[in-house]
């Protein structure tokens, strides 16, 4: 026997004696430094496991060989080391257990099985020597050791990772789920316990009672731990639990320990307030006043709870970020449903950018795609073929696409398909039977297809589990009013000879009827608008829209003016009021009409002075008519002129009176309107005209400003 082996086997005997002693002594009295050696238990424990497992193939290898002499020495040495390391592991295990905090039931099995492994590996050393030729005895001894080791490891695993660690189940991470508060839910059950379960019970449970504390239920908590009771009812400041929670992160005694999920400020506050309120386990949430601090905290915590609930989980894994990035473009957007979700939605934009390839390329992420939106894209039946390969797809939007619907049956292979939108497509009744057979289909949208109501009723009856949506069907008895005809140029009121008035196109089937003499248009007798038409002099255009099945529209009411001769110069003899100066004299011939609604622009206003201008034509046109465009706004004290005087001559110095007009004044309040005065003249050529219009100097009795001065407003003067 070599010296090496001699030392080893004696050391083994000594250590095993220690192990035997450990089995019967109370080790917790040992000094901390010695106990600390126990922390190496988790460091070394995997060595005996590995070595004992490896022993089996090594031993089989040796038995199969004939020239084993040189190797059997090594085998012996290995056996010694296995025994040594097993014994050391067991010793360390005893020291670790002495520190406490482990469930005694699991610990007992683990402890004795561990000791058994240490002794039996030692025994193997001697069995090997004693039964050199008897492989049966050796093999059974070796296998027994292996089985004992596996059993011991299993209980050790339970201690560390909790029972059921090896049971197959998902959702290992505890999350706080606070159920809805019913009238009977106590604060303890509804809020305190769920938080403890999520953040404390990992170490304080039946298996693992760190610090001797078990938080399984209220009774076990009331027992407290090694350091004493968890709380002092009514006094959070003296409660150990709160103290530990509030200690600094680096403090050894901070709870939960560094590295574990920490409590939020709101959660600590909740425990504090619960203890302050007496830690009453029967107090219900609904019995708390609205203003109660505890209630406020709970409410704020509950309000964050649905966050966890809302996320649907998928079993497939996420696509690679590079695959997504490669496909993403402004015309094909791929987005995860949420930041932590592997599920993707794909949506296409811009008709002109779409082709089938855009969809086919998405096959690289076909597992992850749960939503495809092709709405309004020129996608056809080939798209359906591609979509049928997206195994996890749930929602498909094909509204407004060019599909025929004939091959929709292909989507039957999409086992998770829940919703198909087919509005505004060519899909018809015969193609729907195929959809009815889909395994998880819930909703089908068919608005604006050829489907009739009886067909819809039939399909609903046939497949009642699916929600078939035909959408809005207008009530035939309800008559809606059409919109007024709209002019193509909504601003333009003054037209040159040859320029035409046009209406904007109406919806199909709608006719525009109009009059140009100011009379009320009639849906049958008035002129039917077929093409644009010219302005004749001053024209009062009134138009309506008519269509069978609709109410006739309101009347569009506008006055148009033909452009006349433009004076070579025009001057103001009296200045307009400071507030309503417009652009000066040019306002009157700029061919921009003012509107009755806004007297601040394009209008000249007069109150203290009369409106008085001079217009000069160097050539002396053949002017037969003057048109003075004014406005009336009763509320604004703007009335038709009291009197209009036209004078004519070759120069301002030689004028003669051509016309005097006394306009009719309103008798009562009426709506704002344009008041054009058409003033016919004698057929005589003049180079110079003077036009004067007097404002009403005393407003009539019925007027809200009776007795006050009135205004006169002019926006344009035409010479024809």
């Amino acid at each position: 026997m070599s010296r090496h082996l001699f030392v080893l086997s004696n050391l083994l005997i000594v250590l095993q004696v220690f192990l035997l002693l450990f089995c019967f002594l109370d080790l917790s009295v040992l000094p901390q430094l010695v106990l600390f050696a126990g922390r190496f238990h988790p460091v070394v424990l995997h060595l005996p496991i590995t070595l004992i497992i490896l022993l089996v193939p090594f031993s089989i290898y040796l038995q199969r060989r004939t020239d084993t002499d040189d190797l059997s020495g090594i085998f012996d040495l290995v056996l010694h080391y296995i025994a040594l390391i097993s014994t050391l592991t067991a010793l360390a295990g005893f020291l670790l257990a002495a520190e406490g905090g482990y469930n005694q039931d699991s610990l007992v099995f683990h402890k004795w099985l561990g000791v058994a492994v240490a002794f039996s590996t030692h025994a193997l050393v001697y069995i090997k020597k004693a039964f050199v030729k008897n492989t049966i005895v050796w093999n059974s001894a070796m296998l027994t050791t292996l089985i004992v080791m596996v059993a011991g490891s299993h209980y050790g695993g339970n201690l560390t990772h909790g029972e059921g660690f090896f049971a197959f189940k998902q959702d290992v991470k505890p999350t706080i789920t606070i159920a809805e508060f019913t009238a009977k839910t106590t604060v303890y059950d509804g809020a305190v316990q769920p938080i403890l379960a999520a953040k404390c019970m990992e170490c304080h449970n039946d298996q693992k009672t760190k610090g001797g504390l078990n938080m399984k239920n209220l009774a076990s908590m009331l027992k407290g731990g090694k350091s004493g009771s968890m709380w002092v009812s009514g006094d959070p400041d003296k409660s150990l639990m709160i103290e530990r929670m509030l200690l600094g992160m680096d403090d050894q005694k901070h709870m939960p320990p560094k590295g574990k999920a920490q409590l939020s400020a709101a959660e600590i506050l909740l425990f504090k307030e619960w203890i302050r309120a007496g830690a009453n386990p029967t107090k219900t949430y609904h019995s708390l006043a609205v203003t109660d601090t505890l209630k406020t905290i709970i409410t704020s915590i509950i309000n964050t709870a649905p966050v966890e609930k809302a996320t649907k989980t998928y079993s497939f894994s996420a696509a690679s970020a590079s695959a997504i990035e490669q496909l993403n473009s402004p015309f094909r957007r791929i987005l995860p449903l949420a930041s932590n979700s592997p599920a993707l939605s794909v949506k296409f934009y811009l008709k002109e950018k779409y082709d089938l390839n855009m969809l086919t390329e998405c096959k690289s992420i076909s597992e992850q795609v749960v939503e495809v939106n092709l709405s309004n894209m020129p996608a056809d039946d080939k798209a359906i073929e591609v979509l049928s390969s997206f195994e996890n797809i749930e929602r498909i939007n094909l509204n407004g696409t060019a599909i025929s619907g004939k091959n929709l049956g292909l989507l039957k292979s999409n086992k998770h398909l829940e919703q198909v939108s087919l509005a505004s497509t060519a899909v018809g009744y015969p193609m729907l039977d195929a959809l009815g057979a889909f395994p998880s289909l819930k909703k089908v949208f068919l608005w604006n297809t050829s489907l009739t109501e009886p067909e819809m009723a039939a399909i609903r009856k046939k497949f009642p589990k699916i929600h078939w949506d035909l959408g809005y069907i207008p009530d035939k008895n309800e008559l809606l009013k059409l919109t007024k005809p709209r002019l193509l140029d909504e601003e333009k009121r003054i037209y040159s000879p040859g320029e035409l008035i046009a209406f904007k196109p109406q919806m199909s089937g709608v006719q525009i009827r109009y009059t140009i003499d100011g009379s009320k248009p009639d849906s049958l007798a008035s002129i039917l608008y077929t093409k644009p038409f010219p302005v004749i002099g001053m024209m009062k255009l009134r138009a309506i829209s008519v269509s069978p099945g609709w109410k006739t529209s309101d009347t569009t009411d506008n006055t148009f003016f033909l452009k006349g001769f433009k004076p070579d110069s025009i001057r103001m003899i009296n200045e307009a009021d400071k507030q309503y100066k417009g652009q000066g004299a040019i306002t009157l011939t700029d061919l921009v009409k003012g509107t009755p609604g806004n007297l601040n622009v394009n209008w000249l206003g007069y109150r203290d002075n009369s409106f008085k201008i001079g217009a000069y034509f160097s050539k002396g046109e053949d002017i037969q008519q003057i048109l003075l465009s004014t406005v009336e706004s009763i509320d604004g004290y703007v009335m038709p002129a009291k009197k209009i005087i036209i004078k004519g001559g070759d120069s301002p110095k030689s004028l003669k009176l051509l016309k005097t007009i006394v306009p009719e004044q309103p008798k009562e309040k009426r709506r704002r309107q344009l008041i054009p005065f058409v003033i016919p003249l004698d057929k005589k050529q003049y180079r110079y005209f003077e036009i004067e219009a007097y404002p009403v100097n005393v407003l009539p009795k019925w007027h809200p400003g009776k007795g006050d001065k009135g205004w006169v407003f002019v926006d344009e003067v035409f010479f024809y």
Binding site: A321, N340, N397, Q419, L470, Y472, I473, L480
Partner: protein, 483 residues
């Protein structure tokens, strides 16, 4: 000059730096669009991974039909027969409890209660009481969730609107849509992720201002983009005459080069925003015409929204456009319909306003539903506060008016994970105070964010030395209305 430039560079904040660093390897790494801000872990502005829902969202998109001016709850969804019984009698002090009043009625000597002049009846399986002004909304009673107990802190339009849109009365904070764009990113990069549509009813109107769709301190890509109400919703989108698509492309490429150079020199992230916006506008040249082409709308669509939907700039047309934008992946479509400020002449004004919005609002819900989109789109209908149960001024025969009331008012929501066919909350018989399940504006925001898959406490942005949230330091998810 050199010194100035140094100064500027020193002023470049960490955010600027990070954004810039991100641009360097962002395109090579996981993908700039997908997980852009996760690269920087805890050092980013928000504690959330941006650009994605935090957990599976119930709603992917929002259409907010804002009824600007504050429609009266007492003529819409909060039926109070007691007011008709006590018509003309004084509002008991025990009900008012010293509630502050606006300058418009604070000096009023009497506060005569006034009952609704419109009839109410029950609709749908939920038996929700809905005013006769809204026959079409009544027809979708089983699809909507009416919240009768909204309350706000503000009593005047501007602060109340600002509060509703940004979570604070004072302004300068990002609005809801900007937060959504920031938190969830864009679904469709060919369109802005936050668009705004405006319309004006015939009732007494209140203004809307661009501060309501501001990005606040967030990056300006999150700003709401207003689609104008004319025939051409996005102005200057067409290429100038004589320029084809290719020359526009070449011009933008060249411009991007210059901008990239400028960014290298100055490091201002707004330059990147500009580059991105140019690119988006280029793609919008194709995307927008697809949306605004109404010529292919079926007769049934027109009947569903009402014929007004063919007239650009009307509420109905905006509802139809909102559906199309939302269908095309715009995260947040914000409508404002003005004209609900019924201080006087309420009877007539309410009738006209209801006429404008009833059919189109209901039509939008029906349209989303029949396309299978309602369950992923959250539609919200409501104003900035409610109206008083007493008359502003004196009751004038059949006519009356109502002042602003912040303590309870009704809104409704549909789709997007909200319980359909339900009425939430209870107000007292006077329609003045809440007696059960109050919902504050912060709660409303928290709930909407929750439905979009975001924890409102975690969507934050650090600015001026502290973290900001849409819900400020308040807000609780209203679990009672979540399906």
């Amino acid at each position: 000059m050199e010194n100035q430039e140094k100064q500027f560079r020193l002023n470049v904040t960490r955010r600027h730096f990070l954004t810039k660093a991100g641009l360097g390897f962002g395109s090579a790494a996981l993908g700039s669009m997908l997980f852009k801000d996760q690269l920087f872990g805890a050092d980013t502005q928000s504690s959330l991974p941006l650009g994605l829902a935090q957990y599976a969202p119930k709603a992917k998109r929002i259409i907010y039909l804002f009824q600007n001016g504050a429609p009266s709850q007492l003529e819409t969804f909060d039926y109070k027969p007691l007011l008709n019984k006590m018509h003309g009698e004084e509002l008991p002090a025990s009900i008012r409890m010293g509630q502050r009043l606006t300058g418009m009625t604070a000096n009023q000597e009497k506060f005569p209660l006034v009952g609704s002049s419109f009839g109410f009846s029950q609709h749908g399986q939920s038996g929700a009481w809905i005013s006769e002004l809204f026959p079409n909304i009544a027809s979708i009673a089983d699809d909507i969730c009416i919240v009768k107990t909204m309350n706000t802190e503000a009593i005047n339009h501007d602060p109340a609107l600002t509060f509703f849109q940004t979570g604070a009365q004072q302004g300068n904070r990002p609005s809801m849509g900007a937060w959504m764009s920031y938190g969830l990113g864009s679904e469709n990069s060919n369109l802005p992720s936050y668009t705004v549509l405006l319309s004006r009813g015939r009732g007494n109107g209140q203004g809307v201002y661009s501060k309501l769709w501001t990005n606040g301190f967030l990056d300006s890509v999150h700003q709401g983009v207003v689609f104008s109400s004319g025939d051409d919703p996005v102005l200057y989108l067409n290429n100038p005459e004589g320029h084809d698509k290719q020359s526009r492309r070449d011009m933008l490429d060249q411009l991007a080069k210059f901008n990239a150079e400028a960014f290298d020199n100055f490091g201002d992230p707004e330059i990147n925003t500009r580059i991105k916006q140019y690119e988006m506008s280029y793609r919008m040249q194709s995307a927008v015409p697809e949306l605004t082409d109404l010529s292919k709308e079926s007769d049934n669509t027109i009947k569903m929204y009402g014929p007004d939907c063919l007239v650009p700039g009307t509420y109905a047309a905006n509802c139809l456009l909102a559906r199309k934008l939302s269908e095309s992946g715009v995260r947040f479509v914000q409508l404002y319909h003005q004209g609900w400020d019924t201080h006087g002449n309420l009877v007539n004004d309410m009738r006209m306003q209801a006429e404008d919005v009833d059919r189109a609002s209901a039509g939008l819900i029906k349209d989303l539903k029949q396309r299978g989109l309602l369950d992923e789109t959250l539609v919200i209908w409501g104003g900035e506060f409610g109206r008083t149960n007493y008359c502003q001024g004196k009751i004038d025969g059949a006519n009356y008016g109502r002042d602003h009331h912040p303590k309870c008012f009704s809104i409704w929501m549909a789709g997007g994970g909200v319980k359909p066919g339900m009425v939430y909350g209870e107000t007292d018989e006077f329609g003045y105070n809440t007696i059960k399940d109050p919902v504050s504006v912060h709660d409303f925001h928290a709930t909407v964010l929750h439905l979009m898959g975001i924890n409102h406490e975690q969507l934050t942005y650090r600015h001026l030395g502290r973290r900001y949230r849409l819900t400020d330091v308040a807000g609780q998810v209203v679990n009672g209305i979540i399906a």
